[in-house]
Amino acid sequence: MKSKYSIFSLARNAKNYHKDWEKAWRSPAPKAEYDAVIVGGGGHGLATAYYLAKNHGLTNIAVVEKGWIGGGNTGRNTTIIRSNYLQDSSIAIYELARSLYEGLSQDLNYNMMFSPRGVLMLCQTEHEFRAFKRTAHANRLAGLDCRMVTPAEVKEIVPIINTDPNCRYPILGAYYQPRGGTGRHDAVAWGYARGADELGVDIIQNCEVTGILRDGGRVTGLSTTRGEIKTKKIGVVTAGNVSTIMDMAGVRMPIESLCLQALVSEPIKPVIDCVVMANTVHGYMSQSDKGELVIGGGTDPYNNYSQRGSFTALEHTVTALVETFPIISRLRMLRQWGGIVDMTGDRSPILSKTDIEGLYVNCGWGTGGFKAIPGSGFVFADTMANDRPHKIAEPFGLNRFAEGRLIDESVAAAVAH
């Protein structure tokens, strides 16, 4: 049993100059056999393992990760949490995730710094204004706390914004979700890892999957760089690398891997206390607790596995934000990085069983996976444990592409998620 994190444990450890903190999770060698194995130690994979153990009593399970946990997109996103999507199926899963985020720090005994500071999505063309109004109506019918706000209110919420009606893309209003916000992305991975580890889950890092072993139409195990692991249930949760893994099982995916970049500025005093998304001009921004402005934009258009994007896409993002927030024009940018996102045709995720018995897949979160981590893990764990889709996961099956039952969020959410 791990000791709980609290103000008292902090004080106790301060006395020893913080030398005696125990490891947050073990680093075990892989066992020969598990009841289930999750491939991919990002937020979604770790959350799946945590809920498998906590809600379904499956504790003889492992998470295998080729690098280190949370080193992929979980540690590379801009940490935005919101649930104001257009379609009912999307609202259900993203709102489940957002509401789980509210109590996650307590549940995991790990401060993931959920900050419901509000998410403001700007309307900068008539078209966008009408599209968001439609989303607002859909969301209110679904019971979400969201509303349209006027340009004057936008200025009140974000004083540094440029509301000049004569600029190229004037602000005509905004769509506001006050309960949305940001979280500490690394802490989400670490918290779920620590929670899962405490329940007996083996988290195996530096262990790359090299093959999926099958006996006819069912899985029997995995071959990895650290030896073979027998198991009857495999959950593939590998985001941008999902096609590579699924090819090993001969399952073709409706996925393309693109590079999405983000950047942060030098730290400055607090200037913005909510998240602003400007979808028409492709840019979004918030301020971290350290004072850096956290900036994201659109993806590069072409397939990419390099985790490095082009300068063109960055320039485009920064140009857009300088017009929206003129005061940032002289800020220097501190760091920039890229992550490989898995895009589906309808920009909605895939949470599905496959034609191979015991093989499950959770992917396609594209540019907006971070906000969904708790909900995704919750319903995917239920899907794997009971070998049937959870009610919320059901619309997100792989079969929707053959049945033409798409969940179209590509128009509804514009570019930025």
Partner: protein, 115 residues
Amino acid sequence: MLVVTCPVCNASGDETDFHYGGQAHVRRPATTDPVNITDEDQRDYLFIRHNPKGLHFERWRCDRGCGKWFHAARDTVTMEFKATYGITELPPAELIKEAKGPWADYFKKRLKEKA
């Protein structure tokens, strides 16, 4: 930043002078056999994509040059363009040999059809 050369007009430029057109050699099944296509064929045509880590074959358009579409073989890890070739052509033989996974299966089928 990618540097691309159009095989049609020989114009060279960076990625902003060209337009990305996604996976190459996608064939609409209804064009050849409209009666017998299944939902799965149509799904494969519309949504299923080769998504290799490494050598990939794709369509590009020479936006600010001749305006023609063409094919390119590009590595999705190093970003290197291995070759560009005409929109009706198959890639150079040595690159077909280099192709792996679903691309290798695809070219095997295409070459058999041709023969």
